[in-house]
Assembly symmetry: C2
Homo-oligomer: 653 residues x 2
C-alpha cells in the first residue's frame, strides 16, 4: 500500500460523516404537470425573448417570428442581392430540368414540376427561417407520391383523377406538416433516425434509378410496380422494345452528367459544373433531337407543353369519395418524408453558418407552403439536399435566391415552354439517376456498422424493405424495429456490479475497471434504467440471481450481509417499481441480507416517501447519498451489531 | 467554515490525482449478442442447476423441470394428504357453483363449466409448479370469451357453432400461452401493469354484475351487448318483464352471500363461511324451488343437465371457415388475460410461502392444460384469485388439492347432475356478483393516485375503456398509454443541474439538495436517459438552452468555461447519440465553452472510441471519472491557461 493510499484511507476516515438523502421541495401536481408539458412541447422555450418586453416589442417579435422576412428584409442590401442573384440563377438552371424530371417520376405532367418550382419558393421566402434552403420538388417525395397513388388510380388511364389525388395529397401533406409545427409535435420526425434515412434513401435511390430504365432503354410497356423484381422482369421481358438510339443517347448523357458530378465533388470550387450540367444536357439533347428529327427514330420526347403560369387548382381538391383514405395516407407519408428532408437540410446548413432554425417554425412554413401549393397546381415540395448545397456553394445569402429562382422559372413558364417540346425523355432519366445516386452513402453506412450493429440492422431493414416490400413498408419496418429496441432497453435494463477503486471512495463497474475490487459482505449493483411495470419482473429475477451467484461464490452464506442498489441511473419510477423494492426487501430479509438504496433521484425518493408517510427514510442505514458512505458506515455497524439484529432491519418501503 | 470542512478541502487537495476513464475489455460482436440474448430470454438462468452435473442427474433434473410432480410426488406423505383433502373438498364446494355460473357468463351450457373444473386441474397437478393454485374457469376470461364470440355468432341462435368456436378459442389460447412459455417471451404479459389490471378488473366486475341483472331481475329479453349504456337501457325498457319473485329471491341470497363474504374478510379464520356459502345457497334455493314449484311462478331454473364426464371435443375444433380470425383474436386475448391472472396468483402465494414459480414454466403448464382442455369439452381455465385464496386458507399443501377437487367434480358429473335441474338462475347471478365484487380494489386505486398520477390515468383509461368502448378496447387503450409513457421518458429525458455539496467531493441535483452550490465557470448537467435518435434533437436544444440561461445569469460571458456532462445515467447510446456530442462540441467551441464528459459507462465509452480510433480519450481534460476530479483539475488548468487556448481544446468526438 503506497503512502498515497495511506493518505486516502486516512482521509476517508475523516470524510466519513454521512450525508442525508433529501427529497426535492414539494410541488403541486399541477405545477409538475405544467413543467412536464413545457419540457415536452417547448424545450427550446421560444417565448424566452418575449419576457419583460413592452407590448410593442412583443408584437414586433411575434410578427418577426411568423414572418422571418421581417427580420432580414429591412437589413437587405444590394451587395447581398448580387450574390443572391447569382445563386438564384444557378439553382434555377438546376431546378428547371429537375422539376420536369421529378414530375415525371411522380407520374405527373412535366409542367407540374415547374409549377411546383414557382409558387412554393415564394411562400417559403416569406415564412422560412433558413437562409440556404432551396425549395422545390424532391426525388423521394415524388417517388412515394407517385407509387402510392398508382396503387389505386392509373396515371395514364385517368390522368385527371390522378392529378386531383396528387393535389389533394399535397394539401393533406401540408396540413399535416403545419399542424405538427403548430402542435409542436416536431419530435415525431425524430423517429426517422439517421440510420433509417440512410437505408431508406439508398433503397429509394435504387428504386428511382430502376424506374428510369423505362426512358433510358426506351421501353414503352413498363410495369406499374416499384419493386426490384417486377421492374427487372418487365425490363428483360421487353428486350425487343429496347431502342439502341435511346440507349446510346442515354449512356452519353449519363457519362457526361456523372463526370460533371465527379468534378464538382473533387473540386468544390467548380460546383457550377454539376449545377449547370443538367440544363446544358437538356439544351444539347433538345437541339440534337430537333436537328436529326430523332423523335422519328424511336427516341421519345416530352412533347407539347402548354404555356403560362400556375392555374388555380383548389377546385381539384377532392375531400370525398372512395380514395380519401389513400390520399390522406399518401399525404401523411410524403408529408413526413419531405419534412424530414427539409428540416435536416435546414439544420445542417444553419449549423455550418452558425445560425438557428426553429424546427417547429420550419414545419409551419413548409406545411403552409404545401397547402398554398396544393391550390396552385403544385405537388409536394420541400428543401432539397442537392439544390440547397448548390445554393449554398454559389454564395446565397438570404431566401431572395429562392425568389430569383422562382422568377426565372416563371419566365420559363411564360415564354420558353415550346423549347422543351423536343427534349428527349432519356435525358431526363439520366438527370434523375445522377441526382439520386448521391443519396447512396456507403461511408456513412460503414460508419454505422462500426459503431452500432443494431442501428446497422435497422438501416438494412429500411433498405431491404424499400426494395422488396414497398416504400412505406420499408419505413414502417425500420421505425418499428428502432422503437422496439428502445422498449427492449427498458424491459431488459442493465444491472452491473460495482467495486471500489483502490485508494479512493469511487465505486465503478467491476467489468469496466479491472482495478476495482469487491467489498466483502457487500453486493453493490447499479441499475441503469427507469424502473417500471415493464421491467420489475426482470429486475427482481436478475437481482436475486446476482445475490444467489454471490452466495455460491462466498461459501459461508452469512458473509453476504448487504445488497446496495446504486440508483443514480434510475431516472424515473412508477407504482410497480415501488412495489419491486417491497418485494425485494422481504425476499432478501429471509436470506438475512439487508437492502440499501444509494442516491435515489428526486422523483424516486419522492415516491418512496409517499408509499408510507410514517416510515422514515432518513435513518442511517437504508438510504445513503454515496456508495462510499454506505459501505463505510455499514461496515462499522457490521462490526458492532450481530447479523440477527441486522437481518430484520428497518423497513424501506 | 467549520474545522470539518477545512479537513475536507485539505483532503480534496490530497485526493486530487486524476483517475482514467477506461473502456471495458474488448468483446466480439457475437459474444455481446450472445450475452444480450441470454439476458433477454434467460434472465433467471434456468440451466444454472444443470451445470457440472453427471448426465443422469441432468436427465432427472430435466424430467423434474417438465413434471414438477416428480419433485414433490416422492416425498408425498399421508399427513400432507389429510390437509390437501380438506382444502380440496372446500374449493370443490366453491368450484361447482362457480363453474356453472361462469359457464353461463360465457354463454356456454352450465355443464361446460363443470367439465372445465374436472380435466384441467388434473393436468395442472402434473405440470404446474405452484402448490396453491386452484385451477378452473374464471370470471374475466369467461366474460371476454363470451362477449367476443357473441360479436359474430349468437349463442342462442347457433349454440353448436358457438360451442365449437369456444373450444377452438380455448385451443388457440392454450397454444399461445404455451408458445409464450417455450419461446420465453413471458415478459409480454408484464405490459399489463398492476395499474392496468386494477382498472380493467374493476371495469370488468361492473360489466359482469350488470349482465347478472338479467337473472337477478328475471328479464327474458336482454341485450347482447356488454356496454354500460345498452345494458341499462335494456333493463329499463323491459321493466314489465321484472318478476318480483325472482327479485325477492335474488336480494335474499345476495344479502346472504355478501354477509358470508363480510364475515370471512373480518375473520380470516372463518374463510370456510364464504367458501361454503355458494354451495349452501344453491342447495337451499334448489330445495325451495322444488318445494314450492317456483319455476311455475316466473323463476327461471337451469333445467335438465346431461350426466357423465367430459365427452371428447377435438372433432369440434374448427381451423377453417369465416370465423377463424375472430377465434384466434379471442384466443389471444383470453389467453393473455388468464395467463396474467394465473401467473400473478401463483407468484403472490409463492412469495407468501417463500418458494419460486418459474414464469415461463407456468405458462407452458397453463397453456398445455388449455390445449388438452379444448379437446375434452373445457373452455379457457387458469388459476383463480378467489379459489386459490380459499385453497391456501384451508391449508392446501400440494397440487393434490386440485386432484381432490376434480375428483369431487367428477362424482358430481356422474351422479349429482339431476339435483341441479331446479337450481334457479337468480342464485347463480347472485354468486357471480359476490365473486366479482372482490375485483374492485378501491384502496389500491387510491394508493396509485397517491404515488403516480400517470399510472392512475392509465388505470382510469382501462376502467372507462372497458365500460364504454369494449373489454379488449379498454385493454388496448391502457397498454398503448403506458407504452407511450415509456417512449416519452426516452424522447424527453431529464437533464438536471448539479452542484457541489459543501465540504465534500459529491455533486448532486441543485434542485433536490438545497445546500449544494454551483462552481463558478462550470455548468454541470447530468443526463438521465440513454441517448438515441429519439432524443438527440431535444437534448441538443435543451443543453444549449441551459448554457444560454447560464450565460444570461452570469453577465460577463467569458466566465462560463466548461460544460460538464455527468453521464452515469446514460445507460446506452446509438450512432445518433454519438453525433450529438460532435454537434454540441462544435457549437460550444464557438461560444468558447469546452465540453467535458464524466464517467461514461462501458457501452458509451466503447462507442465513443470507435468513432475515431485515432483521437485519444485518455488525455487529461475532456474525460473524467468523477465530477469532483473534473472540476478540480480543470479549475487548476483554468488558472494556468488562457481561454483562447482552452476554447479550441482537444476533440472528444
Amino acid at each position: 500500500m503506497d503512502p498515497n493510499e495511506v493518505q486516502h484511507s486516512h482521509c476517508l476516515e475523516m470524510t466519513m460523516e454521512v450525508h442525508q438523502v433529501l427529497p426535492p421541495p414539494h410541488k403541486t401536481t399541477l405545477h409538475k404537470l405544467n413543467n412536464r408539458l413545457k419540457e415536452t412541447f417547448f424545450p427550446d422555450d421560444p417565448l424566452r425573448q418575449f419576457k419583460g418586453q413592452p407590448l410593442k416589442t412583443k408584437l414586433i417579435l411575434a410578427a418577426q417570428y411568423l414572418f422571418p422576412i421581417l427580420q432580414w428584409g429591412p437589413k437587405y442590401t444590394f451587395k447581398l442581392f448580387k450574390s443572391d442573384l447569382v445563386s438564384g440563377l444557378t439553382i434555377a438552371s438546376l431546378a428547371i430540368p429537375q422539376g420536369i424530371s421529378y414530375a415525371k417520376l411522380a407520374n405527373l405532367p412535366p409542367i407540374v414540376g415547374l409549377y411546383s418550382s414557382f409558387v412554393p419558393p415564394l411562400v417559403y421566402a416569406v415564412l422560412g427561417s433558413s437562409r440556404d434552403l432551396a425549395v422545390g420538388p424532391v426525388s423521394i417525395a415524388s417517388l412515394v407520391l407517385g407509387s402510392m397513388l398508382r396503387q389505386e388510380v392509373s396515371p395514364t388511364g385517368d390522368p385527371v383523377l390522378f392529378l386531383q389525388l396528387a393535389f389533394t395529397s399535397t394539401f393533406f401533406a401540408g396540413l399535416f406538416q403545419a399542424s405538427l409545427g403548430i402542435l409542436r409535435l416536431g419530435f415525431i420526425i425524430d423517429f426517422l433516425s439517421k440510420a433509417i434515412l440512410i437505408g431508406f434513401m439508398a433503397g429509394a435511390a435504387i428504386i428511382v434509378s430502376l424506374q428510369q430504365l423505362k426512358s433510358l432503354l426506351g421501353i414503352s410497356h413498363f410495369t406499374n410496380q416499384m419493386g426490384l423484381i417486377p421492374v427487372m422482369t418487365s425490363v428483360f421481358n421487353n428486350i425487343h422494345e429496347w431502342s439502341w438510339q435511346t440507349i446510346l443517347m442515354g449512356i452519353c448523357f449519363l457519362v457526361l452528367l456523372l463526370l460533371a458530378r465527379h468534378v464538382s465533388i473533387k473540386k468544390p470550387k467548380l460546383f457550377w459544373v454539376s449545377a449547370g450540367a443538367p440544363l446544358v444536357c437538356v439544351i444539347i439533347s433538345t437541339l440534337l433531337v430537333f436537328a436529326i428529327k430523332a423523335q422519328n427514330h424511336g427516341i421519345s420526347v416530352i412533347g407539347k407543353l402548354q404555356q403560362g403560369i400556375n392555374p388555380p387548382s383548389w377546385n381539384m381538391l377532392r375531400f370525398h369519395g372512395s380514395h380519401l383514405g389513400l390520399v390522406m395516407k399518401t399525404g401523411l407519408i410524403t408529408g413526413i418524408l419531405s419534412l424530414t428532408e427539409g428540416i435536416a437540410v435546414g439544420r445542417t446548413f444553419a449549423a455550418l453558418k452558425n445560425y438557428k432554425v426553429d424546427g417547429n417554425k420550419e414545419m409551419m412554413a413548409i406545411g403552409f407552403m404545401n397547402v398554398v401549393g396544393s391550390s396552385t397546381s403544385c405537388y409536394v415540395t420541400t428543401g432539397a439536399f442537392s439544390r440547397t448545397a448548390v445554393n449554398n456553394n454559389s454564395g446565397a445569402k438570404t431566401a431572395v435566391s429562392n425568389v430569383v429562382m422562382s422568377v426565372t422559372v416563371m419566365v420559363t413558364l411564360l415564354f420558353l415552354m415550346p423549347l422543351f417540346q423536343y427534349t428527349p425523355n432519356v435525358v431526363l432519366g439520366a438527370i434523375i439517376v445522377t441526382a439520386v445516386i448521391g443519396l447512396i452513402d456507403l461511408p456513412a453506412a460503414y460508419n454505422i456498422w462500426k459503431i452500432d450493429k443494431f442501428d446497422f440492422l435497422v438501416m438494412l431493414a429500411a433498405f431491404m424493405g424499400v426494395l422488396f416490400i414497398s416504400v412505406q413498408g420499408g419505413l414502417a419496418l425500420a421505425v418499428g424495429l428502432s422503437t422496439f429496441k428502445i422498449l427492449m432497453q427498458i424491459t431488459r435494463p442493465k444491472t452491473v456490479m460495482l467495486g471500489k477503486i483502490p485508494g479512493t471512495n469511487i465505486y465503478r463497474n467491476l467489468h469496466q475497471y479491472k482495478e476495482a475490487v469487491r467489498v466483502p459482505g457487500f453486493l453493490i449493483l447499479s441499475i441503469e434504467a427507469p424502473i417500471n411495470f415493464a421491467n420489475i419482473t426482470y429486475l427482481n429475477e436478475r437481482t436475486l440471481r446476482w445475490v444467489e451467484e454471490e452466495e455460491d461464490n462466498i461459501k459461508e452464506q452469512s458473509s453476504l450481509r448487504f445488497l446496495i442498489l446504486e440508483m443514480s441511473a434510475v431516472s424515473a419510477i412508477d407504482t410497480s417499481g415501488i412495489s419491486l423494492f417491497k418485494e425485494l426487501k422481504s425476499t432478501l430479509e429471509k436470506k438475512g441480507v439487508e437492502l440499501v438504496l444509494v442516491n435515489p433521484l428526486a422523483e424516486v425518493i419522492e415516491k418512496l416517501k409517499k408509499v408510507d408517510e410514517a416510515s422514515d427514510f432518513r435513518h442511517a442505514d437504508s438510504l445513503f447519498l454515496t456508495v462510499g458512505e454506505a459501505v463505510a458506515s455499514l461496515s462499522s455497524t457490521m462490526k458492532s451489531q450481530s447479523p440477527a439484529i441486522l437481518g430484520g432491519a428497518h423497513t424501506i418501503v
